[in-house]
């Protein structure tokens, strides 16, 4: 039986909720550690449920997406994609290595990616929020993953860890609007900053000299300059377009990521930090 009430209580309740929300927003804005702790605990607590739900709903999702994978066939597909991506990555890295060898750049002291210890991780889920491009991996601080570590796949750069709990980590993808990566054009050696512009948009690269000739498909790698959050030489993408307008101080360069960020199954977290380098 429905009960009708006409009182000021609902408004008072709403006011209380608004005040509570504003308090939480203020605490988070001020970087209260308790907020991070609560978030981490929630992720860890919910991890087994998401893993179980993934197992249940994955086939349903595959049907919805029009791609039907079952059991071993799906695992084999993922493995083959990973192998192919690795080969592409090796090719890009080889091009970069050749250029570095020819130019004899003063980079002997920079960390070589092959020596960086890695943590293999499985992609658990994408962001539940439509406004951010992140993914969650099944490795956390208990596995040696900490905030700020770069994340790569066989082909190249995926993003960086922005949050890590004991068993889970959140990776901000390079296509997210909040992401910035220091990059270098392989052939010219020009340095720039690649900014994310959304899931279906290429990265926009700033600070490229208007006089620099930037051919299409030019390979772009991480610059690894001092205090960069990424080690040098990780393939980021290939140039889609480059436009130098008269009077502009920089070119308009766009780059397509080399990694297919929508189809990631496994990634590697590089246990690397600028300080360690």
């Amino acid at each position: 039986m429905a009960v009708y009430r006409r009182s000021a209580r609902p408004r008072f309740t709403l006011l209380l909720l608004v005040v509570t929300a504003v308090t939480l927003l203020t605490l988070d804005e001020r970087g209260a550690r308790v907020v991070d702790s609560v978030r981490g605990a929630a992720r860890d607590a919910f991890a087994p449920i998401t893993s179980a739900a993934d197992a249940v709903f994955e086939p349903v999702g595959d049907v919805v997406q029009g791609i039907v994978h079952y059991g071993d066939l799906e695992a084999e597909n993922a493995r083959l994609r990973e192998q192919l991506a690795s080969r592409d990555g090796e090719q890009l890295k080889a091009q970069d290595a050749q250029r570095e060898l020819k130019a004899l750049l003063d980079q002997q002291e920079l960390a070589y990616i092959g020596d960086i210890p890695t943590v293999a991780a499985r992609v658990v889920t994408l962001s539940p929020n439509n406004f951010e491009l992140t993914l969650e991996i099944d490795r956390g601080t208990g596995d040696g993953v900490v905030q700020g570590m770069p994340v790569v796949s066989g082909a190249g750069l995926v993003g960086r860890v922005v949050e890590a709990s004991r068993t889970r980590s959140t990776v901000l993808l390079i296509t997210d609007a909040e992401s910035s990566v220091g990059v270098r054009l392989v052939s010219s050696g020009d340095i720039g900053v690649a900014n994310g512009q959304g899931e279906r948009s290429p990265l926009g690269v700033d600070l490229i000299d208007p006089a620099t000739v930037v051919p299409p498909d030019e390979v772009v790698v991480t610059s690894g300059l001092q205090q960069s959050v990424f080690p040098p030489g990780i393939p980021v993408g290939k140039v889609r377009s480059a436009t130098a307008r008269p009077g502009e101080l920089q070119q308009e360069v766009t780059v397509d990521p080399v990694v297919d960020l929508s189809r990631l199954t496994f990634v590697k977290v590089l246990q690397w930090s600028p300080r360690a380098a």
Binding site: V3, T20, D28, R39, F131
Partner: protein, 173 residues
Amino acid sequence: MEPPGRMNRARLPIAVLLVLTLQYSAFQDVRIRGVHPDALLLFAIAVAIVAGSESGAVVGFGVGLLADLFVQTPLGLSALTFALVAFAVGALQATLIRSSWWITPVTAFVASAAGIVLFVVLGAVLGQTQLLDADVPAIVAVVAVGNAVLALPAVRLASWAMAGLEPDRSYAR
């Protein structure tokens, strides 16, 4: 009215957990232009339709806070948005003299669209300007349509979850 039993009190957390699990797993694969429906916002709206503005706001705040735990936006932003939207839905429902089956999907459509816009506006005010860089029209369209399609089952779930708890005003059965 009899006081709610232990089983009835457990229904709401169970329903919230179910919705959170759906949002985190099944809905990840149901993407149109990279956007998926927002089950948590829909559940807050459904509770407001079923149980009125006060219950809607409280549940909206709760599920919004849960949503905030799993994303990078500030803690409290989704909670504030969902609470305001659910309160408005409940208040509007209270003015309805008679109900039709299609009112629920239409309400979910409008409220979901308003919720997304409010989330972006509040976020931008709080310095989360990256929200403005997203494809907001596409997100609004997909979330509103998706939530409208799922509105009737969501209201059934909300009715089950809120059964035995005292409503401000209940019209959905």
